[in-house]
Homo-oligomer: 291 residues x 2
């Protein structure tokens, strides 16, 4: 069993990005500049945005954090986005989700200039991705592809089962892995809440990608020997033995499933760290296209 | 075995559209107006465009056919599209494919205003469809959904196998049938040229959608009893006994597979006629949004 080490791979990718940035500096070019918009002061969102800003510093990007009060109107937020769209110094930007309830999230995401949409959430980018055109691949799916590719997991002709049809993970993964290209050419089955006999399907899978948000959902009895497991779940499970009072669990019963796996992502330290690395990668790509 | 009669269903849909158009006329509203752009004089393209124009007349739409010579430059074609985008009298328009080789097809399709893109080929519409937002569903997939829905074929919780990953049929069908909504909530496996043991997969399918373009590819030995078959293929096979010298064949060996099917589309008269009906439906939708 080989651990698909997201922490190490994310660090490798950040090192590669740092080298690119240093080359830009040597050539006297402008370095990539990522902006993040945060509305309100939700604890988790603050943590996520903070990590993104620190990651920018680590690789030598410029970053700008725009913090707006919880009471910000949709109109005001749309104005901020228009300004970022038109600001040539900003190569890419993200709007941290979730937004306060009085703001229409989809309307806001649709207002982002697709050329600066480094989260890959704009429908035009999603469509371009699905139609195999130049786009921004959403960070989590992009991170999974990179993990599979860098560990040389064979996907071509393999049967991949994706569990969960979310817009940000399950749906794009099902598309990407059945396309041509690296970590592609897989026969993909997309399963979801209406799927019957899920175990019968997962037992046929060479590769399983689980993105449900149900702790330890996938058991050893549901997989065949030699399976490749990508666990996108990340849940806090109460645990009195831990100082924080909880443990982080993925969607896979790791202890038992790992014994049958050829490759498996740990949680934490698997898909999670890849997401920020790929956001940086997308920003670097945006910078190169914005010349 | 029930025949999924596309010819009859398409006529039903055209009748419904005619009723809507008559209501518009009674209310003194402008009727839908579809424009079609044809570059060159390819025989098949002329036939297709002619059918679309006649279908418009049949339901009471206005239609405009813009015929451009084979030698039209890309720049000139893009100018024509800009004019159509800006022409408020035109609710929707299509550019008949294929285009002459000196013109970049994707560039042309991307130039169409997504709000008038009644073929649903613009990446923004494709992304909106995949993300379950308001969009134009490409005519052939839309027609298949309508056939399944109107014949009350149960798709929820069923296993659908799609053969072929083209951008205009296989890919969108695999997305649509696994989404929520009518003719959705299916567990979908998308198969393609790199799929191994295809027969093992198709034998598990409750519903099979074949869009390969290989005459009589799907045999009875590849399906289970009671399967639902949607055949998107349409090939001309040489046949000296026919006055035209050819027979039209689908991707399914109809005679043998139909004996095991609960529902099956014939070729011709199945999916084919639905495509034009759904183009009209999209144009009606465009008209209603364009008010």
């Amino acid at each position: 069993m080989v651990l698909l080490d997201g922490k190490k791979t994310a660090n490798d990718i950040k090192d590669e990005i740092t080298i690119s940035v240093n080359e830009m500096i040597d050539l006297g070019e402008k370095v990539p500049h990522l902006a993040a918009v945060l509305v309100g002061s939700d604890g988790a969102s603050l943590t996520y945005v903070g990590s993104k800003v620190r990651a920018c510093e680590r690789v030598g990007f410029n970053s700008t954090l725009i913090e707006l009060p919880e009471t910000t109107s949709e109109e005001k937020l749309l104005k901020v986005i228009q300004d970022l769209n038109g600001n040539n110094d900003i190569d890419g930007f993200i709007v941290q989700l979730p937004l306060p309830k009085h703001i229409d999230e989809q309307k806001v995401l649709n207002a982002v200039n697709p050329a600066k949409d480094v989260d890959g959430f704009h429908p035009e980018n999603f469509g371009r991705m699905a139609l195999e055109m130049e786009s921004f691949i959403p960070a989590t799916p992009y991170g999974i592809l990179q993990l599979l590719e860098r560990y040389q997991v064979i996907t071509k002709g393999k049967h991949t089962v994706v569990i969960g049809r979310s817009h940000i993970v399950g749906r794009p993964m099902s598309i990407l892995m059945s396309q041509k290209g690296p970590a592609g050419n897989s026969t993909v089955t997309l399963t979801h809440s209406h799927t019957k006999n899920l175990s019968e399907i997962t037992k046929q899978a060479d590769i399983i990608i689980v993105a449900l948000g149900v702790p330890e959902f996938l058991k050893a009895s549901m997989v065949k020997d030699g399976v490749v497991i990508v666990d996108v779940g990340i849940s806090r499970v109460p645990d009195d033995t831990k100082p924080r009072g909880y443990t982080i669990k993925g969607d896979v019963a790791f202890d038992e499933v790992s014994k049958k796996s050829s490759f498996i992502t740990p949680v934490p330290g698997g898909v999670g760290p890849m997401t920020i690395a790929m956001l940086l990668k997308n920003t670097l790509i945006a910078r190169k296209r914005n010349t």
